[in-house]
Each structure stands twice: as structure tokens, then as C-alpha cells.
């Protein structure tokens, strides 16, 4: 992990120029649909759409870091699912570890289920990547504060805002740990985990202190002292309405497909699935690809952005 992976970066393109609530809506639609879809093809369609948005926004490098991180998580999910799931019937490998103990079965179903859930995780983490890279935290804080809504949203925004700081602290404390003769990268997993104890201890203490200092600074600068004003409300452009319309279409397509049972995929006890609703899937994917298409148009014609 690195700091740029979790921090907003200024870029001159259509996706970065959207109203923060438009981009936030896009991320939310992708996340909600990924949570109700089980069918890998539908999940792959979501991944394709949000991946295109990230690439067109110019965050390939950061996304690749997220992907590496996610793949390691998917491998862990696959291994755990293989160890603990006993529902699959198509067993292609069985291992009796201890006499009297249930055998360890590796089934096609458990492997496919892990792959499906991994795909879902990939979509959610990619959506988060878009959130952290393409939404200016200042603008989203202002937009949310303007709505007069809440402490939970503020907490989420601050948490995402503070991730880079958390990573910086982690890196610094790991360095100091090495300077005190502790090599956190040496030894087996158990030894390395044990050596992380002081790092985690300091990290939590300094994070709490930092959070308190930041809260004090906000309080001393009047946050929560009464009604807020806005120096300049973010402007809504035609492109925002266009994308919001596309999002509504995509969301209803997704809900329709879910209601019709087209997004279902039975992993257990035997794989059973069918693919239907291709027109709806295509419409949903195309709707979700609208930001990327518009951004591509802006790159082709410099006057296009001013028109929309």
C-alpha cells in the first residue's frame, strides 16, 4: 500500500469535474448492485463499467495497486472457503488429515463460490478506488455539510481522509521498530505477527491522539457551532443530470434483473445457472459506461466539456 492509493488527486478530466454527489451516486449504485448480484456475468459487467471509469479518469496505476491488494484477499477467501465449506458435491480432491476427523474436500462449487465472492469484492474495492481517487474530500464534505446531514457521513469522510495519514504513521513506526533492532520482515508468520505488536500499540495510541487533535482543531474553528454557510456551492452541469439519468436507468435495470431472478447463481450443492436478460444487462452496462464515454468525448474534442 502507498499513500497516493488512498488520497484524492487533482486531474483535469470530466470525471473529476462532476458534482461530488454525482460521483458518489455512481459509486453507491455500483456498490448496491454488486451486493445484490450473485451472477458472475452481471458482476463482471459492473466491474467492466467501473473499471472503464477509473481508467478514463487516469487512475490505472492506483487501481493496479488496489487490484494486487484485492487478489491477495481473494486467495485468502478461496482458501478459507475451501477449508470450511462442505456443501459442494463435485469433489475433485479429498484429504484425510487425521483419523476420525472429517476429510478436507476441495469441491468445484466451493472454488466457484470463492471466485464469485472474490469478483464481488473486486467490484466493491474498485468502486472505493474511484471514490477515494476521483472525489475531492473538500467538496464532498461541503456538499454533505450543505445537506445538513450527519455525523455518520462526517465520520466516514474523515476516516477516508485520514487513511493516508494512518499509512504514513504505520510506515514511520515500522521504520522506528527496525531502528530498535526489530526486523518485522524476518522470520515465520507467527514471529512476524508477534513483532507487529509494538507497532500496532504505537499506531493506535498515535491515531487516537491525532484524532483528538484534529477534533480539537475543528471545534476551535467553529465546526458544529451552528448553521453553516457555503463559500461557493458546487455547480450542477448538464453532464451531472445526464449521468444521474443513466444511473437511474442502470439501477432500475439491475433491480428488474434481480426481481426476475436473472442475477441469481446457485453455487451449492451443485452449480446450476442460466444466463438471461442479456438486453437488460447490456442496457445497464452501457448506462454505467456513460461517464467513460463522455470523458472519451471530452478528450476527443476540447469544446465538448464546455457544451455539457
Amino acid at each position: 500500500m502507498n499513500e497516493t492509493m488512498l488520497s484524492y488527486q487533482v486531474k483535469d478530466n470530466l470525471i473529476h469535474s462532476l458534482h461530488p454527489l454525482t460521483t458518489l451516486s455512481y459509486v453507491l449504485v455500483i456498490t448496491i448492485l454488486s451486493l445484490i448480484f450473485y451472477h458472475p456475468i452481471y458482476l463482471a459487467a459492473l466491474l467492466l463499467a467501473v473499471g472503464l471509469a477509473i481508467v478514463s479518469a487516469g487512475h490505472c496505476k492506483e487501481w493496479s495497486t488496489y487490484l494486487k491488494f484485492t487478489v491477495s484477499l481473494i486467495i485468502i477467501i478461496a482458501v478459507l472457503n475451501m477449508l470450511f465449506s462442505r456443501e459442494g458435491e463435485t469433489i475433485f480432491f479429498s484429504l484425510q488429515l487425521l483419523p476420525g476427523m472429517a476429510p478436507l474436500n476441495l469441491s468445484l462449487e466451493s472454488l466457484t463460490f470463492a471466485a464469485g465472492m472474490g469478483l464481488r469484492l473486486l467490484v466493491i474495492i474498485t468502486a472505493f478506488c474511484l471514490y477515494s481517487q476521483a472525489i475531492d474530500p473538500d467538496r464532498i464534505l461541503r456538499a454533505v455539510a450543505g445537506l445538513g446531514k450527519g455525523k455518520t457521513v462526517l465520520a466516514i469522510i474523515l476516516a477516508t481522509r485520514l487513511f493516508p495519514q494512518f499509512l504514513r504513521d504505520y510506515k514511520r513506526i515500522m521504520e522506528i521498530s527496525q531502528c530498535r533492532g526489530v526486523d518485522p520482515y524476518h522470520g515465520n508468520l507467527w514471529q512476524r505477527t508477534g513483532r507487529l505488536k509494538p507497532v500496532i500499540s504505537v499506531l493506535f495510541s498515535s491515531s487516537l491522539e491525532h484524532a483528538l487533535e484534529l477534533a480539537e482543531s475543528m471545534y476551535a474553528r467553529g465546526y458544529g457551532s451552528g448553521a453553516r454557510s457555503q463559500r461557493q456551492a458546487d455547480l450542477w452541469h448538464p453532464r451531472d443530470f445526464l449521468i444521474l439519468l443513466a444511473l437511474i436507468i442502470a439501477f432500475f435495470c439491475g433491480i428488474l434483473a434481480y426481481g426476475q431472478g436473472w442475477t441469481a447463481f446457485n453455487y451449492y450443492p451443485r452449480l446450476s445457472w442460466e444466463f438471461s436478460g442479456s438486453c437488460i444487462l447490456t442496457l445497464m452496462t452501457l448506462s454505467l459506461a456513460i461517464p467513460s464515454v463522455l470523458n472519451w468525448g471530452c478528450k476527443r474534442s476540447s469544446s465538448f466539456l464546455s457544451k455539457i
Binding site: 488520497s7 487533482v10 514511520r172 495510541s205 484534529l214 482543531s217 471545534y219 474553528r221 467553529g222 463559500r231
Partner: protein, 545 residues
Amino acid sequence: MLSGASGSGKTTLLRAIAGLVPDFHGGHLAGAIYLDQIPLTKIPHRQRLLKTGIVFQEAERQLLMNTVEAEIAFALENLGFPPILIKRRIMEVAAALDLTDCLQQATATLSGGQKQKVVLASILAWEPEILLLDEPTSQLDPVAAEQILNSIRRLNEDSGLTVILAEQRLERCFHLADRVLVMKNGAIACDEQSFDKLSHWAMKNEPSCLPPVARLFAGCAFSKIPASIKEGRCVLRSLAPQGDFSSSFSAASPGLGNKLDAERSFEQPLVEVEKIWFRYPEGKEVLKEISFNLKTGDFAVLMGPNGAGKSTILKNINGLLRPGRGKIKIRGRDSKGVPVAELANSIAYLSQNPDDYLFLPTVREEVKFSLQHLTMKDDIDSHSDQVLQRFGLCSLAQLNPRDLSSGERQRVALAAVLASEPRVLLLDEPTRGLDYRHKGELGRILLEMQAEGTAILMVSHDVEFVAEYAAKVIFIADGSLLCSGSKYDMLSSSTFYSPQVTKVFRGIAQGIVTLEQAQELLQRILYHRQEAIPRLAGNAGTGEK
């Protein structure tokens, strides 16, 4: 100005005036604080904020927004200012603090001085009547600190802004104050508007609350104590009107230093930095062809502006970073490929934040942890006792290090890294946040270590500390080594990086760097003057005859 030792209650007093104590931090407040004759507790939060603004010590930890403009606007929006007024105030305060060009810049990319200016701007934007400042220059180099203090002074003089400033580096701001309050153990020990009375009180009770220039004159029993360098120079000029006293001064020791250097020229260096270059990933060159050596018993200091690459040099030496080009040799061996944990046996490193070192429940365990991981000593218990004794930590051995004062935490961290008796000690801004007494203790420990043969390399903006304790100074700017030499040569020839006594004696005597030297010379001047007066009087009498 609020002066006083660490833990004397300066920050708590500022927080109480700002209403943060007890409103934000809790606790019980007895007595009352009045703003415009109204008790603070009866003023609503927002109204109170419109009257007082507070700037804390670490700018980095107060920044919330992504860009400078959003950061300045944040408080104005919170306080419900109309949009037109917000824009105007941003424009005005940015111009006043020279931030106009970086309004759209990300706050994370700013230098330390700029960050402190942004925090200051975000408070000044709503034009509070009272500005409370808690060590606003503690992390800044002398030039950036001067800029910040000049801005504050201008606001005080031009706009009638009341400023209450708590500061440890008195030499930077003592002369700006109209009134000084000295705090001791949570109470106000002295409250003076007359600088002379304050100086005489301080010399009897708390000399550390005076800057070096005032201590110099107060130590020589002057009745009128100069507060600023300019005043001090005027006094000296009146005592020694015709100039250079350098030749009559015996205590300056550059000659001695040169002689020692010549004798040690064949000695094998402990650290050899040979033409190193370094670049962070996706960044520009931070270090460019840096070369220098550290020998047994050296005490060198890296000085230069924020962002010059000083801390990066330390991290290259202890292996946390590896140079792109060039070599670093530790005791003659190339450190390339040697793990940091292995290098830690011979190189101790104390970073800017001593809290990062403290994670165990007691001070004793912190020291033992280092011994267990860094040395092969059999008798760890008795050795840890020796270390605790040496650093004066025996009475604190069973306490949680995080419950100690900043100076004590600094000492625990130092004891922890030095427990293994390293040959080289690297320190990054060790005097940050320390008062004069704690600085004195740190200086004493470092001199002891130097005498035992430890090579010390320190990064510091604290010119007064460097002048008193270090031996060599290396100036770094924009990743390059500008010049290096004995502190007498380096500090006496610099405009900003020179201690107060050097500035006071500029044009009168060269090579005066330490307070002891300055006092000796001042006494010599006074002695010459006393001898000259009867002679002059005698000559005058002969003439009349």
C-alpha cells in the same frame, strides 16, 4: 508572551482562554475568565470564537481540507459568514500572509512554514480580536519562523490584534512582547511590562526564561537590560566605540578545533558519506552528491531550511533509505544490503517524535527492550539500571512513559536508543518542544557521549542549542551540501543561522558563538573601560595643568 518550563501550564491557560478547557477537554475550571468583562462561560460558543482564535503547535495535525483555499474557508463556513464575505476574507488574508499563489495547492504538498501560515490564515480570516498562539514556530527553520513572527507583529501593530504567544524559543520573539508572564507549576510567577524588572527577577528566580542576549547583560550586572539584539549592540557600541575586540579575546577556539582536526586526519571515520544521491519514488532529487565524514567524538549538526533533505540524510545513514548513487560506509564497511536492524547495533536513531518509541508499560521495560534486541549482554537487568541512572530516570522507572512530560519522554526515548551503547548517534530535531532546562540536560548528555567517543549527527533548527553544544555545522540547501566547518566559522558568518550573542557582537568581535564566550568578552570590555576611565581622567588633569 507566556514563558515558562515545559508542563508549567502555558498551553492549558491558552486553551482555557479559547474555551477549549473545560468545554472540549473536560476537567473542572475554578475562577473565571472574562472577555470584554463578560464571563467566558456565559458567552455562546460561536460568539466566543468570533473573539478568540487559537493556533496550535503542530500545523500538520490541524489541517483538515485538501486545498489551501478550502482550509481557509473552513472556519468561515462553520461560522456562517456570507459567501461574498468569505471570498473577500480569503483574498485579503492570503495576500497578507503571502499565500495567494498557493490557494489552489494541496495542503499536503506545502512546506512546514507554509502549513503554519495556512493554519494562521484560517484563524485570522474571521478577524478575531485575540489571537492565541501555542509555540507556532517550534517546527520551523529560522527564516520561516522570522516570516511568521513578522506577519504576526504586523497584524498586531497595524490591526490592533491582541496576541498571546506561548513560546520556548525565546530568542525568536522576546523582543516583540509588550508584556511577559512567566508561569511556574501552573501559576503565574511573574507578570511584568518592564523588561528590566523582569530580567532582574528572572536572574534571581528563573534565568531560563530569558533569551541569551538578556542573560548576557543581566549576568554582567547591567542595570538596564536590552531586550533586542539592536539594543544590545547599542549598549556594546557605547562601551566599545572603536571597534574590533577579536584580537583581545582568548576564548574562541577555532584554532584549537583546527589543530585537533589536523591530528585526527589519519583516523578511520566511523561514517563515510561518499557522493550520495537520493530520490523518492516519483519525486525529484532530494539529495545531490552529498559527502562528509564523521569520526569518533564528532558532534556535527545538519542545518538548513525545511525540506532541504536533512532528515533524508539521517535515514540514508541508518539504512531506512538507500542512496541511488554513492556509498555510505559504516566503520569502513559499505552499508549497502545490510539490514536496518543490524545497522542499529552501531547506529542509534532518534526521530522527531519520541512518542513513536514508547509502547511498553514502564520506562524500565522500554530500556530493557532495546537491550534485548540490540545487544548480547547477559546481565540486562543491571545494565538497564545503569542506563536509567545515567539518564536520571531511576525515579520514573516504574511509570508509564506516555504519562511523562515531553522532556521526560524525550529522555526515555534517548535512553532506549542509547542503551546499546552505539558508536554513532543520529538525532532529528531533538530539542523540539523542550524548554531551556531540558535542553541543557540534553546538551549535557550529548557532551558526555561525545567525550566517550560517540559520533553525533543531529538535524536542528535550534541555533542557540547548536551554538552552545555542537562542534561542527553542515549547511544543506535544496539537497546539496553548501558548506561545512566548525560552528565558530559557520555560525558567526551566517545572517539567519547565527545565535543572538554572535549578532550582538557583530562588528565588535568575530567568532563569538557561545554565551560563555560572550560573557567573558563583555567582562573584558568592561574591565578595559574601567581601566581607561581613570587614565583618561588623569590625562585630562595633566592637560589642564
